[in-house]
Assembly symmetry: C2
Homo-oligomer: 328 residues x 2
């Protein structure tokens, strides 16, 4: 039990996580480096790969199978892996693996992203693996679910019969960072020295959510400037204006998504994110009188494990057993 069986990597734009996994998918050792694909010195992915997995290959004679997901498979990554089309389940993803040769001569396999052609095409890369993991960790989600993966580019993903279906992208995270750092809306907080504030936002967050919720069909663009005008008219403290702005942007994500996902009843929403983001989104959901979403905190390693099993990279006990014995 728990001999090393797989090296998994979640290699995104800004960060890199590596997992050494045992024969039931359990994480034996985990490493994190600030070596997202845009921060790899000299673009030398092979050297960074060798560094983050140092000492792991020697654990088993003949080496370990290796699987990565995320932006490492994009045009800016190690090798561009073509998107597979939705609906896409774990078999689709496994069939779409590509690989690169590492410095030691071994193969690193890479999970493809997914493309959905709705009114406009949308794409994701990395989230597909988290979703696969979430469906293993919460088997009840597989039949029908709405998964929300907040972040720089939030994804709202419909799952049907174990496959990624329709999804939408909201740029709430990137927009918040841009507006905070570069726009006139961030200026009062910058002047007040509040932009470096970390931790949980105050009640101005709820006020921002409510503002956008109550805008109806007009939406956030008709309200964004209020992050400034409320401060100018003395109705909002400068130090609270970023919390208010954050609330408006997350509120818009909910307002817009609820109109786009006109399924009745709305399937229960499950959040896949870190604890701080999950708390923020739960607070926003509450202002929309929506049921409290369930949370799956870190599903990437389980997704990598399940895809590796399905692709035959590792010989594993059945995934059901795996989930049952390790995570249930």
């Amino acid at each position: 039990m728990n001999a090393p069986c797989l090296i998994g990597l979640d290699w995104g734009t800004s960060s890199l996580r590596a997992y050494l996994m045992g024969d039931d998918g359990h994480v034996l050792e985990q490493r994190a480096m600030p070596r997202g694909i845009l921060r790899v010195p000299g673009g030398d992915f092979a050297a960074t790969f060798a560094e983050v997995t140092e000492g792991w290959h020697e654990a088993v004679p003949g080496g370990l199978p290796q699987l990565a997901c995320g932006m490492i498979g994009s045009a800016q990554g190690w090798r561009e892996v073509p998107y597979v089309r939705s609906p896409a389940d774990v078999a689709t993803l496994s069939a779409g693996l590509a690989n690169v040769l590492t410095a030691s001569g071994s193969r690193l396999h890479i999970v493809p992203g997914v493309r959905h052609d709705g009114p406009v095409p949308s794409v994701l890369r990395g989230e597909e693996t988290q979703i696969v993991g979430a469906l293993v960790l919460r088997p009840s989600l597989a039949e029908r679910a709405l998964l929300v993966l907040p972040g720089t580019h939030s994804k709202w993903v419909e799952v049907r019969d174990g496959a990624i279906g329709r999804f939408e992208t909201y740029m709430a995270g990137e927009l918040f960072a841009l507006l905070r750092e570069h726009s006139i809306l961030g200026r009062p907080a910058r002047d007040a020295g509040a932009e470096a504030r970390t931790g949980e936002p105050g009640s101005a967050f709820e006020r921002g959510v409510d503002t956008v919720r109550d805008s109806g069909r007009a939406g956030v663009m008709a309200r964004l400037f209020s992050a400034r005008s409320l401060v100018l008219t003395g109705a909002l403290a400068a130090v609270e204006s970023l919390d208010y702005l954050s609330g408006m942007l997350i509120g818009e994500e909910l307002r817009s998504a609820l109109t786009a996902y006109e399924v009745h009843p709305l399937p229960a929403v499950t959040l896949i994110a870190d604890p701080l983001l999950c708390r923020l989104y739960r607070r926003a959901f509450a202002r929309f009188d929506l049921p409290e979403p369930e949370v799956v905190e870190d599903a990437a390693s389980m997704g990598l494990w399940h895809i590796a099993c399905t692709a035959g990279l590792v010989d594993a006990v059945s995934v059901t057993d795996t989930a049952g014995s390790t995570f249930a």
Copy 2:
């Protein structure tokens, strides 16, 4: 006729325009400097004022009356002039003038901005003077009109009975600049060297407008990422992606404003802007099957003149005569 009667200044965030006006409000001489309030060396407004009006004061024994509008009356300007509340007509604005002492000992009067308390408060500063001017130049607008002043912060202003009523702010211009320069959406165009392209956008602009128009209640936030995904999937050229983005943002302004201004029928829309922005907005209006808006190109000097007359800073023939004789 046409002896100098008034010095007017349109003093905004990034630029400064000065007008020497004759006794019928006609502009005898005009000067422009890149000396918006954030670009005044050392914050020495008095020195910049003396520079931009050099030689004008000597034209008349005893000097000329002087009136400025715009961000020069904000907290970051020469003196903060309190907002007057909507509804605000030329009499309200004239009654709200404040003034500062110039280096020569004369008084520079400053037009107040306007505050409207809707679901959230909104404010404008500078646009009130353009609107006053537009109502002189197009007297038919005074009874009831919807004026759109596109720009960094676009204003949609309802006019009733000659007064500024309800208005909304859209940050289309600032958002476009932010996304072009700092976001992942601007990257393809930046990589393609297309971000410095000037002039009229191509047909990708219409495509962006249509994308948001067809989003219905969801709005632009559910579509913004398509400026990237369309490029990634080969459906949009990188060099066209900024035109597409511009179309989406202006399209959202229309989509959102049309839901906010649920007046039926929508009053005829009049644009107050420079020619390039007017053409862009007319193209967007056409995609929404709206009547072609009328255009008033530069109304600031006439607004300054009319406010100065109403406040008694200049002795003038009646404004109706003025408009009739000079501009009709």
